[in-house]
């Protein structure tokens, strides 16, 4: 069965959905699982309206999107559902290109093209936020584009996409190191035969400089666009670091900081932010032979622990699993992880409804569900990490099986 015949069907299906005014879709826009204050469509429209009426959109604490969204949606494109559909399709295309680069397929089609695209386009964690017009769709697409260009060895494209991505969501800055490593090495799987990092460090430094340049240009453009004010910095990037808006989401931050006494707040904000960053070096060192896998793991870290998490973040991690079929046999407990994910995916909307809509439950219910979600994300990550390392040992020979075991300590 040639799975690439799915592709046009999937794409046209996604485009079609953008044009059908479904009754239930409008309800999704206010769903706390699908969009956070940083990505909500209602807030985006509010900001655009304020901007159109010459009011500083960042003054009221409502609008927290990047100025780049303001400029794109107020000049080039109107914020119509079709833009989200296109972004989804570009994301799927990028995932496909990453897959092909990793498998060294080239221009032809591999047998799993259709599957890769389907995993991206039909993943409910990505699909529903996109239907809810959450701007996390664009963040994910930017990340995938950066990885795609990096896998194909196109430094300018990769660094520009990454610069965009960090502007849209500051936490993707953590992906800079693996992307640089990917640029100077190859995307082809080296998991089974780990070796020392052999990329050219000088080139990597050069690329880092190039990234800084792109980033500064975008930064300058954003500041000019907003009229030379600096308030947007605190409202957009600052929000990820200082958590001013405690609207519930499936992540682990909001409840913790709702319960926190104010004088502990700065310390724990620091702890939570640093916690995200500490994974970068260990993962990049351990997976120095396969930078794409390292970036995949870091996407997983962001997808369970970042501030203002929405389902789109774990969704990106889960979709990227399709790129690494070689590790599947070494996953330690895939079915348990899947079950925890299913539990979390069912519990989140139910407990949210119990608390917010029906009034039977309280915030603890939803927090419990988001803990399950955190556990599911963590288990997925640990499993991916284990499998990525375990594959290097290969299969255990028949007679040896009882004599030794591979464990993760």
């Amino acid at each position: 069965m040639d799975s690439s015949s799915f592709l046009p069907v999937l794409v046209s299906f996604r485009l079609l959905l953008a044009f059908i005014p479904l009754h239930s879709i409008s309800g999704l826009q206010h769903d706390h699982q699908l969009s956070s204050p940083l990505t909500s469509y209602a807030r985006l429209k509010e900001g655009l309206w304020l901007y159109g009426h010459d009011i500083d959109p960042y003054a009221g604490g409502i609008f927290r999107h990047s100025p780049l969204f303001l400029s794109i949606f107020s000049t080039v494109l109107p914020p119509l559902p079709i833009v989200w559909a296109l972004s989804d399709i570009v994301g799927a295309w990028a995932l496909l290109r990453i897959w092909r680069a990793r498998q060294r397929v080239g221009k032809g089609s591999s047998g799993r093209d259709g599957l890769v695209a389907a995993v991206s386009l039909l993943n409910p964690y990505l699909f529903l936020p996109s239907l809810a017009l959450s701007t996390s769709t664009f963040e994910n697409t930017a990340v995938l584009l950066a990885l795609m260009f990096a896998s194909e060895g196109k430094p300018s494209g990769a660094l520009l996409a990454l610069a965009f991505s960090t502007h849209l969501s500051i936490s993707t800055f953590l992906l800079l190191l693996p992307v640089l490593m990917l640029l100077v090495t190859s995307p082809v799987s080296q998991l089974a035969s780990p070796q020392e990092f052999r990329g050219d460090l000088r080139t990597a430094c050069k690329y880092a400089g190039q990234f800084a340049m792109y980033w500064l240009v975008l930064f300058g453009a954003a500041s000019v666009m907003i009229g030379g004010e600096w308030g947007w910095l605190r409202e957009t990037w600052g929000a990820s670091l200082t958590l001013p808006d405690l609207t519930p989401n499936p992540g682990l931050w909001w409840y913790f900081f709702t319960e926190m006494f104010d004088h502990f707040r700065p310390f724990f904000l620091m702890v939570f932010s640093v916690h995200l960053a500490i994974y970068v070096l260990p993962i990049c060192i351990k997976f120095q032979h396969d930078a794409l896998y390292a970036s995949f793991l870091l996407v997983g870290i962001l997808g369970s622990f970042k501030a203002y998490l929405t389902l789109a973040d774990p969704g990106l991690f889960l979709s990227m699993f399709v790129l690494f079929p070689e590790v599947y046999p070494y996953l330690r407990h895939p079915i348990v992880t899947t079950l925890v994910h299913i539990h979390a995916a069912l519990l989140l909307p139910l407990f949210h409804a119990l608390w917010v809509t029906e009034g039977r439950g309280n915030a603890n219910f939803y927090f419990a569900a988001s803990l399950v979600m955190g556990a599911a994300g963590g288990m997925g990550m640990v499993d991916a990490c284990f499998a990525g390392l375990r594959i290097a040992f290969g299969d255990v020979a028949e007679g040896e099986r009882d004599k030794w075991a591979v464990v993760q300590e």
Binding site: H343, L347, E358, R360, E398
Partner: protein, 643 residues
């Protein structure tokens, strides 16, 4: 120094090895005794479920919200108000005898409200359903609170019809509401608006009114927004008084989709009914054993059992729990009050249990007055007491912790067995040439016996591939079939040709199930892979367990019903070494009947579809899209053994 360090190092390594060994031993232990553990969990779960009505699991009810102060007021409702109610009743009986239309009834009620000086209006509505349209006219009036801005409100309601009693018309209930309107207006102590609603028919009138009030008009409801509105409704009391007199007040509390009101409301009513009205409060229409024995369970038992007070008490509690489960599992409201719950309004129905006396309008009016005063005291919504409970008697209840684990334990048993099957599917036992007589099926079953991996066993365990994709396709296909079946059931064609259409659908579904099986087994099955039936059963059990444990919090009765209907059939779908009985082809018929046999209960199907279309009760889609496909998967598993 080096020696000391070396000592430490060796010790650390030892502890690591020890830990590994311990972990492995624990896993081995669990795996070796998996069938025992599963059976034990299952047995404990079912036993717990059976023991839910017993006394030690319940505790005494209490009022949690201090602001309520139930039964602490002197009531002013008097015989002159009773007389007023009688006069209303006379006119209402006239309307009934004249076969007055909904329009005439509603305008009469509206005019009576208006005569009292209350702003009153009517509301017409039509629900479009596949079994025909349902329309009617509601009447309502709003008494503005003399003390506040009216940002909060209490509803006093009665529906025109009653489905609880023997008499179909709730005339005395409507008369009570009208008389109360005239009476309550004379007092200036109300801090909340009081809304009087007379809903047409039984459920649909009140539901249309509520949706119009909250501006959530569903697409199949044709009505206008209300002319008069008030504030946020906090509480609602619905009166069902269809008989002549009553001896007890029954409380009905189950709402749409198994939602329950805050327990404080029921407990307050209990105290008020006892101390203000001198009327004993009972659950539903179940009189307590010493009042009037309505034996059902103990009818055919020896005399000494019938006389045993403990058994009679148990029987009484069982009846209460059974009634609760029959309402909650099907998600249907036990009265018009149940429609209020989804709007975050705590509501109950007070049912005047028909009797030859001694109580009438006098007691009911006083109880209502006192209950309204109690609701009037609230400064915030009821939130302190319980939302998840089972009332075993009016005075005792079960906290969630005392009943929830029973269903969850069954779920855990299922997930354990499912995971065990997953592990078993990953290995194949190979015997040296002279022992290779056993057939393939026994191989997979024998996995349960030995994973001790001691080299003394002469067999070799080799890992094998587990192709998950066909199993997932099969699961998705069954759920799609369920969705299609649900769409069919919702058509007016199906409902009109009930017995015949049920038969056609049943046979079609069975055929689809066979076709699905043929399709799955047509896939090439390399010898080095696990049999599909094993993987399918594993996924099926894990999914079913997930469904049970997640519904158990939302709607325990549904989860418990699922645990009973799914537990053993799904666990036994592949048969177990001890029961060769299950591997008879006739057993697949049992699965078909378990999955779709309910299609032949035409009355039940019709009600469920009506409830889904008009009231949005999730029971019908849940059964079609979640429950039946799960059983279908089990039937696929059991059938694929014969291929």
């Amino acid at each position: 120094m080096d020696r000391v360090l070396g000592l430490f190092r060796r010790q650390r390594q030892n502890t690591n090895v020890l830990r590994l060994r311990r972990r492995k031993n624990a896993a081995n232990f669990v795996y070796r005794h998996l069938s025992k553990i599963t059976t034990a969990l299952l047995a404990v779960g079912y036993l717990w479920m059976a023991l839910i009505p017993i006394l030690p699991l319940s505790q005494l009810v209490y009022i949690d919200e201090n602001a309520l102060q139930p039964a602490q007021v002197n009531t002013n409702w008097n015989w002159q108000d009773v007389h007023q109610a009688d006069l209303y009743l006379l006119q209402l009986e006239g309307l009934r005898d004249r076969n007055a239309t909904s329009e005439q009834r509603a305008s009469f009620i509206r005019d009576e409200f208006a005569k009292l000086g209350l702003p009153a209006a009517t509301q017409r509505y039509t629900f479009v359903t596949s079994s025909g349209n349902v329309s009617g006219v509601n009447a309502y009036a709003i008494m503005n609170s003399p003390r506040t801005s009216g940002s909060e409100a209490i509803v006093v309601s009665a529906s025109w019809l009653s489905e609880l009693g023997e008499k179909p018309y709730n005339l005395r209930g409507v008369a009570t509401v009208l008389a109360l309107a005239g009476f309550l207006k004379n007092y200036s102590l109300w801090a909340k608006d009081i809304i009087f609603v007379i809903g047409d028919n039984y459920f649909d009138g009140t539901y249309a009114w509520l949706n119009a009030y909250h501006g959530t008009i569903p697409h199949n409801l044709d009505t206008d927004l209300l002319e008069l509105t008030s504030g946020v409704i906090w509480n609602a009391l619905n009166i069902d008084y269809s008989g002549h007199s009553f001896s007890h007040l029954g409380v009905f509390f189950e709402g749409l989709n198994g939602r329950l009101p805050n327990q404080d409301l029921i407990n307050s009513l209990r105290l008020i009914s006892h101390y203000t009205g001198n009327v004993p409060l009972v659950l539903y229409d179940h009189l307590e054993q010493h009042d009037a024995p309505q034996s059902s369970l103990l009818a055919n038992t020896p005399e000494f059992m019938k006389r045993s007070p403990q058994l009679r008490e148990f029987e009484y509690r069982t009846r209460n729990v059974k009634k609760h489960v029959s309402y909650q599992a099907r998600g249907r409201p036990s009265g018009p009050h149940g429609l209020f719950h989804q709007f975050r309004i705590d509501a109950i129905t007070l049912y005047a249990v028909p009797a030859n006396g001694p109580h009438g309008f006098f007691a009911l009016g006083r109880i209502m007055e006192s209950a309204l005063r109690t609701s009037n005291n609230l400064l915030e919504r009821l939130h302190a007491s319980f939302f998840f409970y089972i009332l075993t008697t009016p005075g005792t209840f079960m906290k969630i912790g005392t009943f929830l684990p029973s269903a969850v334990l069954v779920g855990v048993a299922m997930i354990f067995w499912g995971l065990g099957q997953w592990v078993a599917a990953g290995w194949v036992q190979e015997f040296p040439a002279e022992l290779q007589l056993q057939d393939k099926e026994d191989d997979s079953k024998a996995v349960n016996v030995a994973t001790t991996t001691v080299p003394t066993v002469q067999s070799i365990w080799r890992p094998r591939r587990r192709p998950v994709l066909p199993a997932i396709v099969a699961i998705l296909a069954t759920h799609t079939v369920g969705l299609l079946a649900f769409a069919t059931i919702n058509t007016s064609w199906f409902l009109r040709n009930q017995p015949l259409s049920s038969l056609i659908l049943f046979l079609a579904l069975d055929f689809v199930s066979l076709a699905l099986l043929a399709f799955i087994s047509s896939h090439p099955h390399p010898p080095e892979t696990a049999p599909l039936s094993m993987l399918l059963q594993s996924f099926n059990l894990c999914l079913a367990s997930t469904v049970i444990s997640i519904t158990s919090l939302l709607n325990f009765s549904l989860a418990a019903t699922l645990a009973v209907t799914l537990g053993i059939p799904l666990l036994c779908s592949r048969g177990s070494p001890s029961t060769s009985l299950v591997s008879q082809p006739s057993w697949s018929v049992v699965y078909s009947v378990l999955a779709w046999g309910w299609l032949f209960l035409s009355q039940e199907v019709e009600t469920a579809v009506w409830n889904w279309e008009v009231l949005g009760v999730w029971f019908a889609p849940f059964v079609c899209i979640v429950y039946a496909p799960l059983v279908m998967q089990a039937s696929l598993v059991s059938r694929s053994l014969f291929l």
